[in-house]
Symmetry: C2
Subunit: 342 residues, 2 copies
Amino acid sequence: MGGDHGPRVTLAACRRFLDEHADARLLLVGLPEALQGFAHERATLVHASEVVTMEDPVEIALRRKKDSSMRVAIQQVKDGSAAAAVSAGNTGALMAIARYVLKTLDGIDRPAIASQLPNATGGSTTVLDLGANVDCTEHHLLQFAVMGSALDSVLKGKEQPTVGLLNIGAEAIKGSEVIKKAGDLLRTAANSGNLNFVGNVEGNDIFKGTTDIVVCDGFVGNVALKTSEGLAYMVSTFLKQEFSRNIFTKISAIVAYPVLSAFKKRLDHRRYNGAALLGLRGLVFKSHGSADEVAFGQALNRAYDAARNNLLDRVRRRIASAAPFLLPASAPAETGQAPAPF
Amino acid sequence: MGGDHGPRVTLAACRRFLDEHADARLLLVGLPEALQGFAHERATLVHASEVVTMEDPVEIALRRKKDSSMRVAIQQVKDGSAAAAVSAGNTGALMAIARYVLKTLDGIDRPAIASQLPNATGGSTTVLDLGANVDCTEHHLLQFAVMGSALDSVLKGKEQPTVGLLNIGAEAIKGSEVIKKAGDLLRTAANSGNLNFVGNVEGNDIFKGTTDIVVCDGFVGNVALKTSEGLAYMVSTFLKQEFSRNIFTKISAIVAYPVLSAFKKRLDHRRYNGAALLGLRGLVFKSHGSADEVAFGQALNRAYDAARNNLLDRVRRRIASAAPFLLPASAPAETGQAPAPF
């Protein structure tokens, strides 16, 4: 039901997904009138009587709309009927409902939002947290590093992906108190072989691809992500303006068209759609609200890959092996904090 | 003496600057051997016996190298011999020495680094702090807003430039505790007519150009700046790769050359070189270390414009008029904090 375009886009993407993955089954959760007309031998319609809107505060979504499509979909994961849930709806509500219904894994205080961003090496960088947790302790950052390593190893098939801690300088003495303590914790975990921590990285390292994973708090991650969205928009605006300036530039645009479209394709943010909500006892993926059919299909693919590759078990195992380092934040004394306000 | 290329670049930029500004005079501060051979009727050579290196910790730069070119240059400002100092050297050392020699203005606890970034409207967005202050209180953020408004009014000739508070959502309830309190403070100052505060902005608003000024703490600002540098690098790498793929794409590159170079020029970071160290009792500008002659010349231009337009008086006047709101942070109880570790 979610996203700027609703079922028109999501159902079309689902049909294509089913055509491309002969072993996949989909549970389509939504209002009966939205789903009617969709028929596929590997699709099951699951009805919900309510929809969480983009404007709904978390409390309304969580307490008043108990039969929302979002909640029903996540309940399918909880019940074991679905291997993963995918939504293009309200991020705050999705995170809150997922956390309430599925609960966090042992050793994890707070789920994090992780996504892949393209980098100059031609690969991708996994960045987390992208906005679920505004204030983080060093223990949360370590948990993100562990969860991000599990996700990245599934996505890239690399057993020990490299982790960088986002900071404002490469030296260990740089940054806030939390960042310095997080650096110490990550180094300790790395020395025991539980993490491939390479040290501090800076903002430019995300798109350079210096490390497989970049760990940061949700405030910083969200600003970095949205700043790059803004820059990408500006760059494409300038490029369009320059190519449409006069008849000569328009002709060059026609000549350069194949190159420009290859370039555009490489930067196409739709290819990177589908953020993982990590740290929960179930797989939940978030599509960008503005996703079109291709982008939403990509979010479905990510969920499919994560489920097939047992992401949940991998996260669990990594957390278990890193348990000695994770303990402090999981102790009752520190988990009494209010949940992140998203 | 500073920057990756040293006097070869800085002196060449100085010569060009003098040629372009018939009313300007330069004091060139450095090692005698580096300056020898530079002669111009409006240039005075000022000798220093030491140089702060990029690797020098702040303590060494501040306590051991008392006759460094950086220190001597800032002393010229302190003594009234120079209207502004420009350096391409070690940022942390420059900030520490400037703060030590010049002191902060009344009402300002911490200087901030402010720079202009291009935006999609074709203008520029003033962003601060870009890395001088890792942990900020709401009062510091208000001070940045006031200082940024003064700088922006000088640069754009706009009396009441708009101010946005960098956050992870437009709603006032979003963000960390400090951000929420800063929002309240900024709104109060705006209601009294001391600030043109328009509310929260998100990362993408920096390059969209939603507001004239974007205020944030130095950690977030530094990450946003460097992330965009990384993305710009990746975009230009991809564009080059696509245009040099084969003989056909190379021909399109030749056809599109005028457009591509106009595009490149619009994004040229050298045009935005020259960050202001605001909040000091004197004007100090920082050039990027990697600056070439054009970029360093731009930093000189910024310092020249700031001096001609009495930036310092404007900052002072704005601070004075905003004094009722600035008071809490200037009270002794809260200024006992350790200086920012840069």
